[in-house]
Symmetry: C2
């Protein structure tokens, strides 16, 4: 972390950061196939202490990446969780060593459909094997072990990141002290699957799809843009969209839309295709849809093996991952007498709330982490 | 209504019915353009009495048509509101004369994008003028007047049909005694516009779109199917989708989806393109998005001119047209001292609830209509 550059940035920024990459021999997936080699793109903020017991793994959501905090050289926008990660922030880099890695199956540096197949020198694309949330976590475990970390101080994430945190608590119960699950679920409902399904069908319907073996010159960009447009509606709330757009006329795009919300969604779709790969969109949404720790008694049985404290955060306005899904997790933890703090915030921003700046959320994260730190239970 | 055939059908069916068509010289649209001639496809059930004061106009939703009740020759499925229309049913054809017409801008027989342009012998397609909910209602008024009906006993509809009913109460305050508005809204919110917008963008993104001047051999069917798939999610509820599909594997379609909800949506999309026109989808969704009687004080001002009784029905599980939008209408009517009955049903089926069989809904409609009939206010 280049402290020398901190002053150039907003208070508490980790400054200029670089995404690093590490290779491991291989990773055997839950499905039985093996990724050889396994590549992981990651960033770290703060310093790992001698005991190696101050590390926090933050896990990103569907379209996120390893760049969680600070600024890449020349960038104006910081990482996706910069409000919460930095010196003096809730994920305090003066205190904790923060690790953020790109999920496998993604398209931001870790092994995935864009990875070149050594056997033929071409990207795997749709021939890349199916990747589960469990596989993403197993890849992260290799990275953590590489740092010589046996037990993480915490694993934290929202949405798909929350699923990874949950998976950590079940797959590696003795490897984390705290688990922070925000705007997430123990498994996708039919409605959540349905939204991802339509997104995938939009990509499959694109004439450039070619079974996923498209060229970079002719990508299924229209299909991917449609998937993103639809997804974006589900990330916001009715209330927030009303405040932000109401029934206002479009900004530009008057040829293709009559409303501001339309031009906004079109922009979101078009900008997304420049930074995301259509195959990865399908792999990652399938990982989401297939993730299942069950619900009710089934979930209670699965969570019986966890050995860490939990903070579960839900948002009243989040209709994509409704609070009842978080409550389901909390109930199952309580039945197992697992220490858990549950907070439902009435932030109006919908599912995206976990990503957005909120003093309330900041202090909730801060208090939960420091109370553990002092061995005090909330 | 061929009563002779009634016995062949379920109790209370109007039996075999035929969609009829009528032409009027022209209709001048709110936008200033004129449709010449104006064609309206309609069906009627029951008998108009001598006083011509027993007529009820039922208005269909986005993908509906004039076929509201009974059976078309050889069909196994009856019209879209058959549960509620027929002898002894809530819209009792022994008592009332029911009229149902296809909206203009649609594709089921009334003037719209499929209408042939007399000037060049080709369908108007995307050169058909913009149609508003007000225009749809003005076309219906011509049909009503053709029957010599001055005052309708009632206008009833759900979703877009509810908007037409609302528009009737405002545009022709002295032409209806009762107005039934179900699962509807006085104007679309940004979120409602957003879902329609993504549907339209899916059609515009289809390589066959050709600015709406596509051939019938090469229609933008993939785009229209995607629009329908996404729309369909919004018509159902989270709860109902969980019950109906859960996380079950697909029925067929294992090449393109891993889940039952996926194969269901794919089927819904594919079957929709056989019965609906992509241009009409764009015209009708635009009519929905542009309809606005305002909200709050603005709506109260607009509704000050109504002269009929109202029944407003909302559904707790309807997240596309949330109950608060119905409450908004009810409040504005109450401020104007308009007699209004409001019912919020906790039917779990979501937005589609208004279309589905429900004894509770049946008796609510029945009581509202008969109480008026007897001059009794609820």
């Amino acid at each position: 972390m280049p402290t020398s550059e901190q002053n150039e940035f907003s208070h508490g920024s980790v400054g200029v950061v670089y995404t690093q990459s590490i290779q491991f021999d291989s990773l055997t997936l839950e499905g039985g196939e093996t990724i050889t080699p396994l590549e992981i793109a990651y960033e770290t903020y703060g310093t790992l202490n001698e005991k190696k017991d101050n590390a926090i793994l933050v896990c990103h959501a569907l379209s996120g990446d390893a760049h969680a905090a600070g600024f890449h050289e020349g960038d104006k926008r910081p990482g996706w969780w910069d409000y919460y990660i930095g010196p003096g922030k809730s994920f305090d880099t003066n205190r904790y060593f923060i690790i953020s890695s790109n999920v496998i199956g993604g398209c931001k540096g870790s092994s995935g459909p864009l990875t070149v197949n050594g056997k033929n020198g071409k990207p795997f694309q749709s021939t890349f094997p199916f990747v589960s949330i469990g596989d993403m976590v197993n890849a992260q475990e290799k990275l953590i072990s590489h740092f010589g970390i046996h037990k993480l101080f915490a694993v934290a994430g929202g949405s798909m990141g929350g699923m990874q945190a949950l998976q950590w608590s079940v797959a590696y119960p003795d490897r984390l002290k705290n688990c922070i699950v925000m705007a997430s679920s123990s498994e996708h409902s039919a409605q959540q699957i349905a939204f991802n399904e339509v997104g995938r069908q939009a990509i499959l319907s694109d004439p450039n799809w070619n079974q996923g073996l498209y060229t970079q010159e002719n990508r299924p960009s229209k299909g991917l843009a449609l998937a993103r447009m639809m997804g974006h509606i589900t990330y916001l709330s009715d209330e927030m969209m009303r405040e932000k757009f109401g029934r206002k006329p479009p900004k530009g795009n008057i040829q293709s839309t009559d409303f501001a919300v339309g031009s906004y969604l079109i922009y979101q779709g078009e900008s997304f295709v420049d930074r995301f790969d259509a195959n990865s969109y399908i792999y990652v949404t399938k990982a989401l849809d297939h993730f299942s720790l069950g619900t009710g008694k089934e979930l209670t049985k699965v969570l019986a093996k966890v050995r860490c404290r939990f903070l579960v955060v839900a948002y009243t306005s989040d209709w994509l991952y409704p609070p009842y899904q978080s409550e389901e997790i909390v109930k199952s933890l309580e039945v197992n007498a697992v220490p858990v703090s549950f907070v439902e915030l009435n932030n109006p921003a919908g599912h995206d709330s976990f990503l957005l700046p909120s003093e309330q959320q900041d202090s909730i994260l801060r208090d939960f982490l420091s109370s553990t730190d002092e061995g005090v239970f909330l």
